[in-house]
């Protein structure tokens, strides 16, 4: 953890010294996506609940923050808190019936949730700007120049990665605690966990809400950083990218997911995959699952 924080802290000055200061913005986006991936890692890897709709919560965070600051003139930090609170409420309402489902049904229901959010973003034009979105969203705190870097990059870099490390700290405490053991029990066998006195439904819902909170927080950061949002950012493809990151990171492997998210994020945003990035994600998802099935079959004997 300390090593990772150290690397994160010296990355912007080094990039700047190399004359690649603009790459800091790539790291900001990567940090924002990593926040979502950490929440999804808890949900999918540890609680074993699939979600193909997390772009929906990412969107709630971005749009609520964006709409409150531009339409109602609410200060960004308060809008952020409101956005996260609303996403948590939505997750609780959606989660109670959804998490009773399993397997294919759960996957389709979460996919459906993400798609409903996407449809609303496009259709509620007077509020969301419709398919073309809206802009002029203010940054979270006033911009300041540091190290000669562009506008808000350094501020956002610090905020995004501080949140990443806070999320890692929180998640690893949860995973290592009694709750974490209960989560793994739920993943292995819900019935056995229930028999041992674990309140399975409540536990699943708590993790779902937590993952939605992280996604919405990241969405709010995204809106205030980019200052312009439109529905395409929050499509089904976006949800599947998050899922791919968690799958490539090894599902129940917090640092693996953070590593996969950072690596894939930097490679994608630096244009390493060119136009092929979605193909790469699709192939990685298939390969990661084939690999985990193969390993599972070996372990199972």
């Amino acid at each position: 953890m300390a090593v990772a924080i150290g690397i994160a802290a010296i990355a912007p000055p080094i990039l700047h010294a190399l004359g690649k200061g603009y790459h800091v913005s790539i790291l900001v986006f990567t940090g924002i996506h990593t926040i979502v991936a950490i929440g999804l890692c808890l949900l999918m890897g540890y609680a074993g609940q699939i979600s193909l709709g997390h772009a929906g919560f990412f969107a709630v965070g971005a749009y609520v923050s964006g709409i409150l600051t531009t339409r109602a003139g609410i200060p960004p930090p308060i809008a952020l808190v409101a956005a996260v609170a609303l996403a948590a409420a939505v997750a609780a309402i959606v989660g109670i019936p959804t998490l009773r489902l399993r397997g294919h049904y759960l996957a389709m229901a979460t996919l459906g949730f993400g798609e409903i959010v996407y449809v609303i973003l496009n259709a509620a034009g007077s509020l969301t700007g419709g398919p073309s979105g809206f802009g002029a969203i203010p940054p979270i705190i006033p911009r300041f120049e540091a190290l000669g870097l562009k506008g808000s990059d350094v501020t956002f870099y610090a905020i995004a990665w501080a949140t990443v490390f806070a999320a890692i700290g929180l998640s690893s405490r949860i995973v290592g605690s009694r709750v974490g053991r209960a989560l793994r029990a739920v993943h292995t066998s819900e019935r056995a966990a229930m028999a041992m006195g674990v309140d399975v439904a409540r536990l699943k819902l708590q993790v779902f809400v937590l993952s939605a909170i992280l996604a919405a927080l990241a969405g709010s950061y995204y809106a205030h950083y980019v200052t312009f949002i439109s529905p395409t950012t929050f499509s089904v493809g976006c949800s599947i990218r998050f899922v791919t990151i968690v799958a490539v990171g090894g599902m129940a492997n917090l640092w693996g997911v953070v590593g996969a998210s950072t690596l894939l994020g930097v490679l994608t945003l630096a244009g390493f995959f060119g136009e092929m990035d979605m193909i790469v994600y699709g192939a990685l998802l298939v390969a990661a699952m084939a690999w985990s099935a193969w390993r599972g079959s070996r372990r199972g004997g």
Binding site: M44, G48, I50, L52, P97, T98, R100, L101, R102, G103, H104, Y105, A107, M108, A109, L111, G112, F113, E115, I116, V119, I120, N122, A123, A124, G125, V236, G237, I240, V243, T244, A247, M276, M278, I279, Y281, G282, A283, L284, L285, V286, A288, M289, A290, S292, A293, W294, G296, S297, G300
Partner: protein, 297 residues
């Protein structure tokens, strides 16, 4: 237009759209019944069918029937390859792994379609028998609607006959009912699973060919077709072919009424809300029996 004929018009539109969902739902069921897998790439078979049909019939000027035969064979082959190349290679996959593999395949097929045909919608494909509307009771339907409904009817009848009266059809049912016993009886389980993917892809392609003249086609229509098709399958009870038809019609008509009387932008949300509501309240389907009816034809 009077209130009644307007209602009738919306209902007819809904039935047309509903047949599309029903065809996708039947494709889901064909694989689900044989394997218990929900193939998240199902919608992309429809897209591939439609796009290929446009290329062959419009750009290469092949007669529709010849184009249709080639397209169905090609997409069916892709379905078989998916089973043979990916699904079969997974060692003892769990449900989560199967879901994610088919999601990944959906992405790969979608990107392949984008690489071949680009992001623009396919050029319009002529209706099979002209586009002069047929009038009835103040509402109108296009001849293509009759073609779509006819396709659906033929598919349902052919599948029913296949599963009831042919040896191979019975073998597939046996695999679904009890894989171990089926193998002990000498049924090549793997080949039957492969067959179900081929069959399902062929049905998807056929649907794509029939609907494209009416609704056009784009490379990224797959996920939304899959979601609504799955909705139809769930409403009708997963695994049931008549249920798929009923479920498709129910969702199609609801969606069309919502578009007509509420707001067209929200029609997709209505279909999805129905899917979620049914999943939450009665996951065994509105038309099917209890959970015992699952995996039954």
């Amino acid at each position: 237009m009077s209130g009644f004929s307007q209602l009738l018009q919306f209902a007819l539109t809904g039935v047309t759209v509903g047949s599309i969902y029903a065809l996708v739902a039947i494709g889901f069921n064909a694989i689900y019944n044989a394997t218990g897998i929900i193939n998240f790439a199902q919608g992309q078979f429809v897209v591939l069918g439609g796009m290929l049909a446009v290329t062959l019939s419009v750009s290469s000027r092949l007669p529709v029937l010849a184009a249709a035969i080639i397209v169905i064979a090609a997409v069916a082959a892709i379905g078989g390859l998916i089973e043979f190349g990916f699904i079969r290679r997974l060692r003892r996959p769990n449900v989560l792994q199967l879901i994610m593999v088919t999601v990944g395949l959906q992405i790969l097929l979608e990107e392949a379609a984008m690489a071949i045909w680009g992001t623009d919608p396919a050029p319009p494909m002529p209706h099979f028998s002209g586009d002069s509307p047929i009038r009835m009771a103040g509402a109108t339907i296009l001849p293509q609607t009759v073609w779509i409904l006819g396709t659906l009817a033929v598919v349902v009848a052919a599948l029913a006959a296949f599963f009831r009266w042919t040896t191979i059809g019975k073998a597939v049912r046996a695999c679904a009912a009890n894989p171990t016993a089926a193998r002990l009886a000498g049924i090549p389980l793997r080949r039957m699973v492969c067959l179900s993917f081929i069959l399902s892809a062929a049905i998807g392609a056929l649907g794509g060919i029939a609907i494209t003249p009416m609704v056009g086609m784009e490379f990224d229509r797959g996920p939304s077709l899959a979601l609504k098709g799955f909705g139809a399958a769930v409403v009708g009870g997963l695994g049931s072919f008549p249920g798929a038809v009923a479920g498709g019609m129910a969702i199609g008509v609801l969606e069309s009424l919502a578009a007509g009387y509420i707001a067209s932008g929200y029609k997709d949300a209505v279909a999805l809300a129905v899917l979620l509501a049914v999943l939450f309240v009665r996951p065994s389907g509105l038309f099917g029996g209890a959970a015992a009816g699952l995996k039954e034809f």
